[in-house]
Symmetry: C2
Subunit: 430 residues, 2 copies
């Protein structure tokens, strides 16, 4: 992974090299704090040790009973699904991966009607074993398997904490079970059992993913000028301080579309607290050049744009054409076109004074993905240190969970009472 | 469609009923301007006449030659794809719809390898007939059809303007062709040939979509307190003026996920200009409660959240369970759970003083979608009037197109030279 922050200099908001040099002292201090947290395996910081602490053998052993599945259906929400989904959508496989990360009745029904349940591995993921959406979906899926004559105990993998409903379920029915790692919030768990079990079932090389993570680990250092992850984290932080409250993340690769969603969770849930934070806006190049670019270039100067791309792509030549005015496309390739669009967007933003950062990996494969995901986690942790926020907690998410649980009669939760305070000003169609 | 703006009162940023009453005079003036534009079929305003001017018979006639296709592959980008995609993803059909709206070589190759090209209708959409991404993709698709022994002239539908490459192609090969409507920017074209041809091929009732559009048209009036679309447009505008520069659009229905993307284009490309505009952030309920909600509730007070839902859903009961602590879920349904999550999020935001708007439709079907899409277009046009921006143009998008074209050797474009101004400050992994 490499990061080019040149187009954050002299923009609005923008930085100077002097600013960055002054900030670099704080980066050194933050790196020291991060390193100490890693050494002690402190809560949250432990995430950055995963490339060394994750156990690929345990993951392979847990999935070994599921011989040659047709598909993997992950039942999980938020960090329990997004890391695995990021790898699944980025890498091609003959084993399809599906994710039930919402409780939409229409969607669940349609998906279950389509899936050959006898050939599917169900991968249910919840640290606590009480996540309402995940457990509700699992109950529905389990019943659908039984209705289809499938023995669910033969087709279910559980990833959960040491205790709780799912752990007991695994013990009672002798299900293969993986441990959610200690000290690792869901949004930082992609390089653990939570993210890698699906990748293993899909036949991907998880050792290479972890090796990429180690590349990212090795690239951390006490200076933003020497560490791509810290260059990204420090620059986004400094831009946010100066008013770039939106970070539009725009990969130029369809395979990285879910990466942008994963990033959005990481960034929003880790840094959005105490009145601080930066809103991740998910975009996709080149598609969104025909849409969001208008706003990024000419709207309020409250943003930065993160352009992400692999430098190697498949070669898909554009055929020569008889069509007038399009001759220039013939002999070129779709990759050339996409890269020209990338350059055009970058220049377009720079010419309008909109800060933009370039993040590049060599290609979309296991190793480079591991490095990219690790790098963004480290960038996020650095940003959190610089902003002095509690990077690894999510009190506002817990608030909403309690309110929903109270509304459903799952206990007494004061949060549920806030629903009665709703102010109405309703305008209806006649 | 109905809109509840009660939770935008007394928040941060926030409004009072007095503010809204004072604003209502400007809404009346803007409505007069909009009505005049519609009467004269002026550029842009003509979009709001589509429920009456679109010709479903012409669309049915154009697609009639394609008997019972297996799938429809739309080749188009931005507004040429998103409207059709919104309907396709919202409504169930036995005819699959695919969209090539990007020039990613890996993605294009993978998609073409999977599709049974002999049973696919290719729907190529570009007003100008010169859009580089669309034409490049079409050339690749056409070659793939030929390579597969398929006569592409028998399987291609063209939707384009009166002149240009695609029009000539249609004439030369006697292809079924539809007209892109005059005076309608791509992002406002869902209720025209551009959005409805795919829906027709998928067997949807496009008369009902247009009837829903007429419902939306009938609901416009000179007061925000009487028109749901204007209530939405005026409130979002007034909140943006007061600092809500991000609008997080969060449908509580998987089927409306693409609607959020369509909305994002409409909002960003129409209103993001002259230093004004509001960044649409796409989210999905309940999934993003486990992610973005942290930021929305506890981050910078620069946002509003738009919660969208159908009030009727499929019934998917949650089975009774032996799992301790989850008994409360049994006997409930996934829909109940999703609605409880909706209420919890709304209350969570309100309790934290974050403005939020509720947009509801009765159910996700043709008629309600037509009304929703029309309503959001009218809301956007009203916002544009109130902000005095040029709602129907997109100069920054054109800038990027010219730059890309120049880079590819498709002509002399001054914009391409900006690429040479790139400032580098590159940080690499060791």
């Amino acid at each position: 992974m490499n990061v080019d922050i040149g187009n954050a200099l002299g923009t609005t908001p923008g930085l100077t090299e002097d600013t960055l040099e002054r900030l670099d002292g704080r980066v050194a201090d933050a790196h020291e704090r991060i390193t100490a947290g890693m050494v002690d395996d402190e809560f949250g910081y432990a995430s950055l040790n995963l490339p060394e602490t994750a156990d690929p053998d345990a993951i392979r052993a847990a999935v070994a009973p599921f011989d040659d599945p047709h598909a993997v259906l992950t039942v999980g929400i938020g960090g329990s699904a997004l890391g695995a989904a990021t790898l699944a959508y980025a890498l091609e496989s003959d084993v399809d991966a599906y994710f039930l990360d919402n409780v939409d009745p229409d969607h669940v029904r349609a998906l279950l009607a389509d899936l050959p349940l006898e050939d599917v591995v169900v991968n249910v993921v919840s640290r606590s074993g009480t996540t309402a959406e995940t457990l509700a979906n699992f109950l529905v899926v389990r019943e659908a398997m039984t209705d289809a004559g499938v023995d669910w105990t033969e087709r279910t993998l559980v990833t959960t904490g040491e205790a709780g409903n799912l752990r007991r379920l695994a013990e009672d029915h002798d299900l293969p079970a993986l441990d959610v790692p200690e000290g690792v919030p869901g949004r930082f768990s992609v390089l653990s059992t939570v993210g890698l079990a699906v990748a293993t079932l899909q036949g991907h090389d998880i050792e290479a993913v972890l090796a990429g993570g180690r590349d990212g680990m090795d690239a951390l250092s006490g200076s933003l000028f020497e560490s791509p992850a810290y260059a990204y984290g420090a620059t986004t932080y400094a831009l946010a301080e100066r008013g770039a409250l939106t970070n539009a993340v725009m990969p130029y690769a369809e395979s990285l579309e879910t990466f942008a969603e994963w990033f959005a969770q990481l960034w929003a849930e880790s840094l959005g607290k105490d009145g601080l934070g930066q809103t991740p806006a998910r975009a996709l190049g080149a598609t969104d050049q025909h849409s969001q670019l208008q706003l990024y270039r000419a709207g309020p100067p409250d943003k930065l744009v993160t352009l992400v791309r692999p430098t190697e792509r498949a070669t898909t030549p554009i055929p020569e054409t008889e069509l007038e005015g399009l001759a220039y496309l013939g002999g070129s390739s779709l990759g050339d076109l996409l890269d020209a669009e990338f350059d055009a967007t970058e220049a377009s933003l720079a010419a309008a004074g909109v800060p933009n950062l370039r993040v590049e990996i060599d290609r979309v494969d296991e190793r480079n993905l591991g490095e990219l995901l690790y790098g963004m986690e480290a960038a996020c942790v650095l940003y959190g240190e610089l902003a002095s926020v509690s990077t690894f907690t999510q009190p506002a998410v817990e608030w909403g969970k309690n309110a929903a649980r109270g509304l459903l009669g799952g206990g007494e939760f004061a949060e549920a009472e806030a629903v009665d305070d709703k102010r109405e000003l309703r305008v209806e169609s006649r």
